[in-house]
Amino acid sequence: MYKLTIEEKTYSCQPDETVLDALLRGNVNISYACKKGTCHSCMVRSPDTVPPEAAQAGLKNTLKKRNHFLACLCHPEQDMVIKLPDQSEFYTEGTVVVNEMLNRNTLLLIIAFKDAFEFNAGQFVNLQRADGLTRSYSIANTPQESNTLEFHIRRLPGGRFSEWLHDEIKAGDTIAVSEPRGHCFYLPEKSEQGILLVGTGTGLAPLAGILTDALAQGHSGPIYLFHGSREVEDLYRIDEMRQLAEQHQNFHYIPCISSNHVPAGFSHGRANEVALATLTDLKGWRVFLCGHPEMVNQMKKMTFLKGAASADIYADAFLVTPT
């Protein structure tokens, strides 16, 4: 018999019981439906222990890496600490060390921590103001860079949190940062695989992290980054990306402008449309999508139809919290 711990409470799991059955018996409010590993409703996480292999069958590789598992398929092999999806998070205090503009409406925010902050490039965190106001932002750097997190913050008209970050926060201020979340990140496997990155606006943030990570880990397959916005003034990191493309033969950077004023060196059209016109067969490719929810949803379908396997499509849609 093994012990299951959720926050302060412990539950016993009988030898013939699954984690889901044990938790339901203990009146834990956990969502579930099919009870046989198909619907993924009961997916939970064990931060400290690797779950049994059978409990991770059919999950995306990045979810497996983060110790997510299906409670209905899990017969524990040791005591487990379990986190439910909606469980309150642990926040760490960080200090703002850089706040400067990347373009006319995007702020570069770098937050430093006393100790190493563990994450995978491409994940996101929740930032929290002292009064409890909380928003999710993607991390734009990689864990190799000295205990800091980098964020790209677009000013949303009337957005309470982004306006606060843009107008009030300054170097030296502290801010609470949640544990990293999300499963949109690079795993160093199949290094010859093609990688397609498509982002709009600050959707570049997680993609830049994923790109840096893939290049640092020696990814040898072709990597295409399509970064789009309406006007050239809303793109950023253009020179840095061009320089990276010069340094790495397998990396291709295609900045896209959807309005009619397209300077030389930029592609005309929406980033997703330019990407689909450039790469016609995505069989065997890994795809990362980030930005406008409609673009992300549309592209999930289109890249799948162009041959990418559903397990190889990773996406983070920006959901704007109503103010």
Binding site: C34, T38, C39, H40, A57, G58, F304, S310
Partner: protein, 122 residues
């Protein structure tokens, strides 16, 4: 005891092999893809997997009522027998592509058929 259809067809690995091929056929099928215009790919992939598991005679918990509720909004959009037939046809073509023997495909089709009235809300 003789093996179940689900075992003979290859169990969960067979479902995993079939799900992308099948769903790609459905999304590419002009007869039915309008019903999938606004769905979330990830949630839909999980549903397709559940459907294939059922069609392959595997463990499932669908009831006739689930089928009715789950498709009611599509019936309002005009879902009818021709669309049901198209899905079954795409499923058959998927299995042909995976070299599943015809007699097993016939069994799969036979499992789908009794759900027709529930799916179409009759």
């Amino acid at each position: 005891m003789s093996k179940t259809l689900y075992e003979r067809i290859g169990g969960e690995p067979a479902v995993n092999a079939a799900v992308d091929i099948f769903y790609r056929k459905v999304l590419n099928d002009p007869r039915i893809n309008r019903f999938f215009d606004n769905v979330d790919m990830e949630k839909q992939a999980a549903k397709q997997k559940a459907f294939l598991t059922m069609a392959f005679g595997g463990p499932h918990s669908y009831t006739g009522q689930d089928m009715r509720t789950g498709h009611a909004h599509l019936v309002k959009m005009g879902l009818n027998d021709s669309h049901f037939d198209a899905v079954v046809e795409d499923l058959g073509a998927t299995l042909v592509e995976l070299n599943v023997p015809q007699e097993l495909i016939n069994e799969v089709v036979a499992i789908c058929e009794p759900t027709r009235n529930d799916v179409l809300g009759r």
